[in-house]
Amino acid sequence: MTPDLDNADETIVQTPRAVDRREMLDRLVKLGAASLAVALACGSSLAPIARAAAAGATSQKYRYGMVVDTKRCVGCKSCMVACKAENKTPPGVSYTVVVENGFGERPGDRPLFLTKPCFHCQEPACTKVCPVGATYKRKQDGIVVIDYDRCIGCRYCIVACPYQARYFDFGENYPATSDKTAYAGIPSPEYGQFRTREDGQSPIGNVRKCTFCLHLQDSEGKYDKAAGRWPACAKTCTGKAIHFGDFNDPQSEVSLLLAARQPVRLKEELGTEPNVYYLL
């Protein structure tokens, strides 16, 4: 577990979860009323106006993201293991994966590894399609989250995501969970909700994804690398390939890296504007 968990716990309990949801509902109601009026008035040009209304109501304080230096990645996959340990994801669900030669075959025999969490896009294709608004981009920090209690499990977001960053929880368990060992009693800290796995209960039957370990944020929404409150993959990366931080802060490590090197993002042509950049 994380070295500073006790400390983290306190902050987790007061994560602005409830406020979030209330605000979200409020926003949805407003958005709904606005859209309905627009729909009645002119019918067709609904989506852009609805988005403009939503955009007007948001002001993003942080823009969290990653810069992954592929030259430093050795393909050890400890980010995947760390993520599993942190989020207690079931079999078949891995919030980050390490893909070999994700940019296609390359000359020579040196593979290019790509660690691929959710990109928390600026224009997410996934949130747009959710029929119930269960997955959305948080206005305070741009993290794309899923409200497990609202999600109906239709998996449309998995279909829409161009990066295959989303996984469905089929309800399968590792033996340690299904045999009801002590491990089964340890909840997942995800979203600060501390759920244990119960048959038929969320997140089983939901879509799941990387949250940039937002349960490790303090009440201000800040991470603290020195205190260990840092996304598990970035914290554990053996080659220090995964750099995490706030792109809104021009002095952050990630901002400086973007300025110094030539970054690339996957599938720019789709206009999703990922917040995870790769350095080749």
Binding site: V99, C154, I204
Partner: protein, 417 residues
């Protein structure tokens, strides 16, 4: 005679299929999604294909009914009610399939209370909810007069009729006239509604730019054409089974056959256009999708089921002189009705079964992170159970609704009078 054989076969099939599906139904509710074979990379499978198949049949059947209730084309009068009833039953079947597909079925109501206006799926659901209400109302007004008349008799059926008409005994010509007026208005509203909701189903796929196999403006239109072709074909089969249509409504069946032939050719034109433009454009992801359909692991579903059973044989039967034989038209229609499930499968599965990020299925060793998808036995049986339920619903409808064959042609000519 042959009608009796068809009906016995029909009831037997319905009951066997329901029994076969019963285990799968139990398993789905007891073990949620554990015994399904879809994955996080191919997140939609057989149940979604079955869903768009049935919902297409519903939209198609309803649009054919508009030939009677909106466009007043006399030749199709005798299948008007049957078409409406088919639209209701197939929509119910579609909803059963998609309800099983949801990870949290009992949260389906969230779509109504937490609306997201940018979601094509949400729009589709709202539109077919409206459509469902409209079709049921329209069917009620179409049948109302006959229900009132039937309610005067004795027995269970008459009691049911009395409940359905809320005890009304109104047989007056004035009320009948207002019924006809209401039916015409409902049917007229229904046409754009059905086009929007099924176009919405197509948009749900076509709008997704990350899936090059689907993305494009042709897709919603293609959905509508396939819906009309398969819905029209299903009506021929239903008429043969329930109305003794091959003898009593031969002209209608032959006319429907011609209509279906035209729609099927239009569908082929669209598919060929997709393929030619796709291959010529040489975009790797689009090519990969087309190759998956034509020569991937599902090539048999395309060449034998969709092209052979669903397209070439029916085209031949409907275009050659056999088009004047009602039985051959019925056979061709049955083949189309069955073959179009393959059309739906070939949209859903190859559209998803490729890596969006190269190497992702090798990155993570799991049966749930793979592009290999073949429906599990549970998925097949579940869908079979839905077909069984649909057949039995048809049978029940035939038993308790005012008969299509003896009164309907007379009834509908009244509508036109």
């Amino acid at each position: 005679m042959s009608e009796k054989v068809l009906k016995t076969a029909f009831w037997t099939a319905g009951i066997i299929l329901i029994l076969a599906g019963a285990w799968a139904w139990y398993d789905r509710w007891a073990n949620s999604d554990q015994h399904t074979n879809y994955t996080s990379l191919v997140p939609w499978g057989l149940w979604v294909a079955v869903y768009i198949y049935f919902i297409g049949l519903s939209a198609g059947a309803f649009l054919v009914s508009s030939l009677v209730y909106v466009f007043q084309i006399k030749r199709f009068e005798s299948i008007g009610r049957l078409a409406l009833f088919t639209a209701v039953v197939t929509l119910l079947m579609a909803l059963l399939s998609i309800s099983a597909d949801l990870g949290h079925t009992f949260r389906a109501w969230h779509v109504l209370v937490y609306p997201n206006f940018t979601s094509p799926m949400a729009w589709m659901i709202w539109l077919y909810t409206a459509y469902f209400i409209l079709v049921v109302l329209e069917l009620w007004f179409v049948l109302r007069h006959d229900l009132v008349v039937g309610a005067k008799a004795q027995g269970a059926r008459a009691t049911l009729y009395r409940i359905l008409v809320f005890g009304s005994k109104d047989e007056s010509e004035a009320t009948d006239a207002s019924d006809r007026q209401i039916v015409r208005i409902l049917a007229t509203i229904g046409v754009p509604l059905a086009i929007m909701f099924h176009g919405g189903v197509g948009s749900l796929f076509g709008a997704i730019s990350s899936r090059p196999g689907w993305h494009g403006g042709l897709f919603p239109i293609l959905f509508l054409v396939s819906a009309l072709a398969s819905g029209g074909a299903l009506l021929v089969v239903a008429s043969a089974v329930f109305q003794d249509g091959l003898r009593k409504h031969r002209e209608t069946v032959l006319a429907l056959g011609t209509l279906v032939l035209g729609l099927l050719l239009l569908d082929v034109l669209f598919q060929v256009s997709e393929a030619l433009v796709g291959f010529y454009g040489n975009e790797p992801d689009k090519i990969e999708n087309l190759k998956l359909i034509y020569s991937g692991p599902y090539w048999g579903v395309f060449w034998f089921w969709q092209i052979g059973v669903g397209t070439l044989i029916p085209l031949a039967l409907l275009a050659l002189p056999s088009r004047k034989d009602a039985r051959m038209v019925a056979v061709a229609s049955a083949l189309i009705a069955v073959g179009f499930l393959a059309v739906r499968l070939n949209i859903v599965i190859p559209g998803l079964a490729s890596e969006q990020v190269k190497g992702i299925s090798a990155a993570f060793n799991s049966d749930r992170v793979t592009t290999d998808y073949v429906p599990s036995a549970m998925e097949w049986l579940f869908s079979a159970g839905i077909v069984g339920i649909g057949l039995v619903l048809f049978g029940i409808g035939e038993w308790f609704l005012p008969k299509h064959h003896d009164s309907s042609s007379e009834e509908v000519s009244n509508v036109n009078a």
